[in-house]
Amino acid sequence: MKTIFEKTKGLTAKPFHYCPGCTHGIIHRITMEAIEELGMLGKAVGVAPVGCAVFAYEYFNCDSYEAAHGRAPAVATGVKRVHPDSLVFTYQGDGDLAAIGTGEIVQAAHRGEKITTIFVNNAIYGMTGGQMAPTTLIGQKATTAPYGRDEAHAGKPILVSEMMATIPGSAYIERVAVNTPANIRKAKKAIKKAFEIQRDGKGFSMIEVLSTCPTNWGLTPEDSLKWLEENLMPYYKLGVYKTPEGGANNG
């Protein structure tokens, strides 16, 4: 019999703990498939965040760390400076990266740190039960924004890819989504490209992935995909924000 689909060697046998319909699992899979396809599992060192992906170190079938909240890019810097030939990546949520860890991510990019960041933007603090994130949309309800996010009070949602693209040290920045099979394929291609940028020593790369949180959005898995499309995608525009050549293609 011909095998048409095999689980990537990049993931361990441990079952994911994610809620039904949560797209964290898809992002884990395409990240590790990309590394496997590049033949770099033996060189890979992943850094897990504090957030729903806190157990990622149990799923990534490569050496890994669990970092303090927001600090993954600094930890990754330490690893990469010791082993420049390894493939070092962080996997971080929007609370982790865009709130408590803004200093670390900006400065890692600013140094042109040759690491790759998979940034999972679900517009909410998933793990702690649905509090407002810096990425929560205007009007979107959260447990700490019970009347919906008010711009006058909490500011506008942070556009991380746009910001990171302005940093001279960043080499590759792209925003993708995992809401349809076609977008998942594109997301994987982007992640693979980001790892190639690192492998080829071109500098810092980050892929922002729009993701769902059915549990804290209070929606079914299907409605979550629809909500992502109708609400997140118009504000967080998909596209390439930075390439080593300086080009951008974000529509």
Binding site: T12, L41, G42, K43, A44, V45, V47, V54, F55, Y57, E58, F60, N61, C62, D63, S64, Y65, E66, A67, A68, R71, A74, V75, A76, T77, G78, V79, K80, R81, V82, H83, S86, L87, G103, E104, Q107, R111
Partner: protein, 354 residues
């Protein structure tokens, strides 16, 4: 090897490199800037890496990454910067990673001042990080000890897989003294097969982690750390007993203040007053057992610290109610003079000997 003249802060760097440390992550703060400056000059020459981080928080997390990747690594800072490192130190301690952290203390609280201080005794020995962890703390009183203790610190860190702190102050950091790199008797150190170096697809993955979500697992982990701490308490206590024979009075002091106390003791000796000194060289584990050696002739204990009194808590534990305890402190950045110390002791003794 011939003695060379060195500045304290540079001696920390030289000793670290001699001990095989090729990685340093830090952030500028007075009065320890000569350490990162020295490392930025020397590490590139030996194929190592000095990196100026964006904060002390980032620096300690870079140390976490580098230590987990299997190499000897150091960071240094001063009081407010060490405050920021506490989160990282707690993670490093739980992950059982070795590293060396130098605290060239300045006065606090808050921004405080930049003069020498010992008001980080609690910060160094109790830590501000969360959880049930300990860190060995060395307190050098001269530059030869800066060299020896820094080199020891790397070995102890590797042997027990634990972050080690060196407690100094601006006085030690800035003074110049002749030092030498002595022949060292090596400890047998475990190999680092736990390190995250990339599997090369030749072994099972390693993960560096401090999360134990199942409470039985966390309990087991904490008892394991506790057993290690007990072993360190048993094996790694260091202290000096100075002029303790027939002492009528005993002073307890460490680091910079112990140097002043020694000259006060010599002055008093000339006047016929026998005063001894207990000098802890490790602040954790603390030399409680030194207090069992205090002679019966002693009438009391004076703790001298450049703080309002922090080590005095450990003195009380070691003394265990046997002798009256007194305190002399200078918490503003001034170093107490030998005269102040002698006068305090004579006052306590009620002018019996003048």
């Amino acid at each position: 090897m011939a003695k060379v003249l060195m500045k304290g802060n540079e001696a920390f760097g030289a000793a670290a490199i001699k001990a095989g440390c090729k990685y340093f992550f830090g952030y500028p703060i007075t009065p320890q800037n000569e350490i990162p400056e020295y490392m930025s000059r020397e590490l590139p020459k030996i194929g190592g890496c000095f990196l100026q981080a964006e904060s002390e928080i980032a620096a300690i997390n870079m140390v976490y990454g580098a230590s987990g990747a299997g190499v000897r690594v150091m960071t240094s800072s001063s009081s407010p910067g060490i405050a920021l490192k506490q989160e990282g130190i707690s993670y490093i301690a739980s992950c059982e990673l070795p590293c060396v952290i130098i605290n060239v203390s300045r006065g606090g609280p808050g921004l405080g001042g930049i003069q020498p201080s010992q008001s980080d005794y609690f910060q160094n020995t109790r830590g501000g990080g969360n959880g049930d962890y300990r860190t060995p703390v060395y307190a050098p009183a001269n530059l030869q000890e800066v060299i020896d203790m820094t080199m020891d610190a790397f070995d102890v860190a590797d042997q027990y897989r634990i972050p080690v702190i060196i407690s100094a102050d601006g006085m030690i950091g800035q003074m110049m003294e002749p030092i030498e790199f002595k022949e060292r008797t090596g400890r047998s150190l475990p190999s680092k097969e736990w390190a995250a170096t990339g599997t090369n697809e030749e072994r099972e993955p390693n993960s560096i982690n401090s999360l134990y979500i199942v409470h039985e697992d966390l309990e087991k982990h904490n008892w394991k750390l506790d057993a290690k701490h007990k072993l360190i308490e048993e094996n790694e206590v260091q202290y000096e007993m100075y002029q303790m024979k027939d002492a009528e009075f005993v002073v307890v002091a460490y680091g910079t203040t112990s140097r002043i106390v020694k000259s006060a003791i010599m002055d008093m000796k000339k006047e016929g007053l026998n005063v001894g000194l207990i000098r802890p060289k490790t602040l954790w584990p603390y030399p409680y057992k030194a207090f069992d050696e205090i002679p019966k002739s002693t009438k009391g204990i004076l703790t001298v610290e450049m703080s309002t009194g922090q080590m005095i808590d450990d003195v009380k534990i070691g003394n265990n109610g046997r002798f009256p305890i007194h305190f002399l402190g200078s918490p503003g950045g001034s170093v107490p003079s030998p005269e102040m110390i002698a006068e305090k002791i004579k006052n306590i003794l009620g002018g019996e000997k003048k």
